[in-house]
């Protein structure tokens, strides 16, 4: 039995502006000690998936509307809140993106660490404090005894994220979820924090889910990767397989939009055209179709299942986890190895299928989010024209 088994998870947000289809039936598993990356653009559902696992979706809008989440054999969907609370922090810990805002500014580090420990273990305040000192030392904070008395604003961003890691590890959780843990940090600090996270989870045998939009971050950190797009897992493979043989047009696009510094002749970057779909509409067909160069007619109507790529599962058996995990992709027309390398379809005469009804693809899907829509469209236009860098200083959506 895997540590975490997510099956057909559906998460929706019911808001004034309508229903947002955030996660549209995804399934994946995670073994004990395994490190999984979840990659995708912002809004692709990667953070929502993990908030759903923690059952911390923003209330009352966010709801798990289908599927199951089994953690260590326990079904989390529908688990009473008190039992769930018992798991949070103790069995599943989470680190968030912005260490500047994730620690409470009016409480000392000591108060925040001690309360975490004492929420789950019946230990004295002194014992909890000793444990906190050890933890701070472990994550490389100098003079932990004194620093324990400090407030978050007295730490740098990198140090705060170390505190967050120490706090997350305080109860030796079985699963650690790190949501963009280094995005808000200086580049020089990023590597240190990632290295720390890697080392500590490996030493403790803690499973790790690392959420990021940055393929460079997951490359050295994880053993497997789920690529998410518009609330779907569109490709999943071991990290090595994914970089070796990206098989979804979106993954190909992601790989071509990051600079490769390790090659002698840098390839030109190919940005992914267009924007992610409007998730206020129930998904029809493949959500990536409007931006896809490989799309077929069928892509507009039918969402392809997540199936093994050619030759990945000769006997038809799919392995979900581990170093031999089956490389699977949700695509009707996966790019070939050569095409993946080139970043575009190479078949002679191939043209991406036009959208049904002949409307321009961008116009179909590129609807603005509702808040922006409610502002007169001229505002966006005018501010774009007139402010340096197109930033709207006073755009009031």
């Amino acid at each position: 039995m895997a540590l975490l088994e997510v099956g057909d998870l559906v998460v929706r947000f019911r808001t004034h502006e309508g229903t947002i289809h955030a996660v549209n039936g995804i399934s994946f598993e995670l073994e004990r000690g395994e490190r999984l990356g979840i990659v995708g653009e912002s809004g692709c559902g990667k953070s929502v998936t993990n908030l759903a696992i923690m059952r911390l979706l923003p209330k009352p809008a966010g709801r798990i509307e289908g599927g199951s989440i089994r953690f260590d054999g326990i079904e989390l969907v529908g688990l009473p809140e008190s039992d769930m609370r018992d798991l949070r922090g103790r069995e599943i810990a989470m680190i968030f993106q912005d260490p500047m805002t994730s620690l409470n500014p009016v409480l000392t580090i000591e108060e925040q660490m001690v309360e975490t420990i004492r929420a789950h273990r019946k230990v004295s305040r002194d014992e909890a404090r000793r444990r906190a000192v050890d933890l701070l030392a472990t994550v490389g904070i100098p003079r932990p005894e004194q620093r324990l008395k400090a407030f978050p604003h007295q730490f740098s961003g990198g140090m705060r994220q170390r505190v967050m890691i120490a706090m997350a590890l305080a109860l030796e959780p079985k699963l650690m979820i790190a949501d963009e843990p280094t995005t808000a940090l200086d580049v020089t600090i990023q590597a240190q924090v990632l290295e720390l996270l890697h080392r500590l989870t490996t030493e403790a045998g803690t499973s790790l889910v690392l959420i990021t939009h940055d393929l460079g971050v997951v490359a050295g950190m994880t053993q497997r990767i789920n690529v998410m797009y518009a609330g779907f897992i569109v490709e999943t493979a071991t990290t090595a397989d994914l970089f070796e043989r990206p098989s979804h047009p979106y993954t190909v696009g992601l790989l071509h939009s990051i600079p490769r510094l390790d090659e002698d002749e840098p390839e030109p970057l190919i940005p992914i055209e267009g924007t992610p779909p409007d998730q206020r509409r129930a998904p029809v067909g493949c959500p990536f179709a409007p931006r896809c160069a490989w799309r077929l007619d069928v892509c507009w109507d039918v969402m392809p299942p997540l199936d093994p790529i050619l030759g990945a599962a000769p006997d038809g058996r799919v392995t979900a986890t581990g170093p031999n995990a089956t490389h699977r992709v949700a695509c009707h027309n996966p790019p070939t190895a050569d095409e993946a390398e080139a970043g575009r379809p190479l078949r002679p005469g191939f043209v991406a299928a036009p959208p049904p009804g002949g409307a321009a693809p961008v116009a179909v899907t590129d609807a603005l989010p509702s808040e922006v829509e409610s502002v007169a469209p001229e505002v966006a236009e005018a501010t774009d024209v007139t402010t340096p860098g197109g930033r709207a200083p006073d755009a009031r959506p």
Partner: protein, 334 residues
């Protein structure tokens, strides 16, 4: 922290000086002959001479101001032109009443406003929230004098649950020690008088406290909703803390900051409101003293009382700054 406080203290000095100039001008630049204006129908040759002497009106204006400032610094607020009583001793007699009243009003406003605000925030957009919103709308919209008379009419006159006015039953004899009825009654060991004093306090405190109650409720609701969206609250939940602990420790400790600031700002309104409340409930305090002085055209008393009110307001705001700094480690440790 200390530097911060010293800076706040220093910032109050120009305000105090400015205030003294304004109040000096208030009396010395009264339209027409100030002494005639000051004395009005009370003018007699002796009194006129005495006031001229007291104000030093024969000297140049700046010199008069320096004298005035010197008097203020030595704690001399002058004498009433009507009854020749020292303003300082009159204030000492009446201030306890005003402090008791505004204090009770503040306790009422905070004690009810914060729970109401939290309740509304917890059920934001629900019917509880709606009820709380209506209460706070009424609180800021109904003037003190109307709420005061309404409460008095129904609860005192009609239902006779509470006394109509005053600070104590007029038949009670109580030795004045501090002039705080709540304190003096206990000092005299008279629990019945204490209860009576509390009963007299209830209606005026509600009337006076209704506006701060409304404002504190609103700001608490907004602050709690604001803080509830912060990342660190999500962190606290992710650590597996109970909802109650998340609320009390992580949400409220931060939500207090704007609430404390607003409470400080309410004190000015409370002092001003005391003027009206004391009139409605015949409450023997500084507010009524001012109104009587206005009716008697006793400008010196009006001037000195406004000054004292302003001093209290500034002092309370300084106190609030200290409280704010104490609650906010970003200021305490910088």
């Amino acid at each position: 922290m200390l530097k911060y406080l010293v800076r706040r203290l220093l910032a109050a000095i120009p305000v105090l000086l400015g205030l003294s100039v304004v109040l000096f001008a208030f009396v010395h630049l009264l339209p027409g002959d100030p002494v005639a204006a000051l004395l009005g129908q009370h003018a007699t040759p002796e009194l006129t001479a005495q006031i001229r002497e007291q104000l030093g009106l024969n000297k140049p204006l700046y010199e008069q101001y320096v004298i005035y400032l010197g008097q203020l610094l030595s704690g001399d607020l002058g004498k009433s032109v009507i009854n020749n009583r020292s303003v300082v001793s009159e204030l000492a007699l009446r201030f306890p009443g005003t402090i008791e009243l505004t204090g009770a009003a503040l306790v009422f406003a905070i004690g009810l406003g914060i729970p109401l605000g939290r309740l509304a925030a917890r059920h934001a957009q629900g019917w509880t929230d709606g009820v709380v919103t209506v209460i706070s709308l009424l609180g800021i919209s109904i003037p003190i004098f109307i709420l005061g008379y309404t409460l008095q009419f129904f609860l005192s006159v009609q239902l006779k649950w509470l006394p109509t006015s005053g600070r104590l039953d007029p038949r009670t004899h109580l030795d004045a020690v501090t002039n705080f009825m709540l304190v003096d009654s206990l000092l005299a060991g008279r629990l019945d008088v204490f209860v009576d004093a509390v009963k007299h306090l209830i209606l005026p405190a509600i009337a006076l406290g209704s506006i701060p109650l409304a404002i504190i409720t609103r700001i608490t609701r907004a602050a709690v909703l604001d803080v509830a969206n912060e990342d660190y609250v999500r962190t606290a939940r992710a650590k597996g803390l109970s909802e109650r602990r998340v609320d009390d420790r992580h949400v409220m400790r931060n939500a207090w900051l704007p609430v404390v600031t607003v409470i400080g700002l309410q004190v000015g309104g409370l002092l001003a409101g005391a003027v009206i409340t004391e009139t409605v409930f015949s409450w023997n305090g500084v507010g009524r003293y001012v109104v009587e002085a206005i009716q008697d055209h006793d400008y010196l008393v009006v001037q000195s009382t406004i000054l004292v009110f302003a001093l209290i307001f500034l002092a309370v705001n300084l106190l609030v700054d200290v409280g704010y700094a104490f609650l906010n480690p970003r200021i305490r440790f910088s």
